[in-house]
């Protein structure tokens, strides 16, 4: 991943366990997987729903920086 790569701020380490992202619809799990080149291994419905409907579980350590803070810093 080079400094010119727009996804350079994403961290993905397939050797490190799993990670979990909430989403408002199961399709968004597949969208994230495709967009960031991740491996989606489970989608679970949240029982106690408020904003989010599902949890997306990815192989490896997948992390986002704080999008809003990053944008404000630019």
């Amino acid at each position: 991943m080079t400094n010119n790569d727009p996804n350079r701020w994403l961290r993905y380490d397939s050797e490190r366990d799993i990670s979990r992202h909430s989403a408002t619809h199961p399709q968004k799990c597949r969208d994230m997987q495709k967009k960031y080149g991740w491996k989606l291994i489970d989608i679970e419905e949240i029982e106690n729903k408020y904003i989010f409907q599902v949890d997306c579980v990815f192989k490896g350590k997948t992390e986002f920086p704080n999008y809003v803070e990053e944008k404000e810093e630019e």
Partner: protein, 148 residues
């Protein structure tokens, strides 16, 4: 490369077939797990074991967990792999390859690990920046309410 990976019980495997059902129709299924993989990881080979998810009822917290509370390396082991490629390449097709992994039940000792903490990002809202900002503000509001 977009891969759709299906783990199926090898024919003749008798373990747990009564529990493997499509919930909406109650139809029995051979599918053990599905993965959608756009990473650079190679496709599974014989000996590979998928991740298995487990619900420990006594540790389930509806605020923290969806259905499962833990995960582990599966008791199912891949013994045979077949790949199928579409007639039309991506992006016209959804996947570059469909991978069928046939598995046998071969239990192993593997520790239960707790599910990791949830993360939330703008992609949780499908890129809707306004919804994401509203969520962050409501979380800040909750924190403030708890502090007073």
């Amino acid at each position: 490369m977009h891969k759709y990976i299906i783990f199926q019980a090898e024919s003749g495997e008798d373990e747990g077939w009564r529990q493997r059902k499509l919930q909406h129709s109650q139809a029995l299924t051979f599918i053990i797990a599905e993965n959608w993989d756009s990473s650079n990881e190679p496709i599974p080979e014989p000996g590979y074991r998928p991740v298995e998810f487990v619900r420990v009822e006594s540790e389930h917290d509806p605020q923290e967990h969806a259905h499962n509370t833990h995960y582990r390396v599966s008791d199912w082991e891949v013994v045979r792999v077949q790949t199928y490629t579409p007639d039309i390449p991506t992006p016209m097709s959804e996947y570059d390859v469909i991978v069928m992994c046939y598995c046998r039940y071969n239990p192993i000792e593997s520790p239960l690990k707790p599910m990791p903490k949830r993360q939330v990002s703008i992609d949780s809202f499908g890129g809707d920046e306004i919804a994401y900002k509203q969520y962050l503000e409501s979380e800040e509001g909750k924190k403030y309410a708890q502090s007073i």
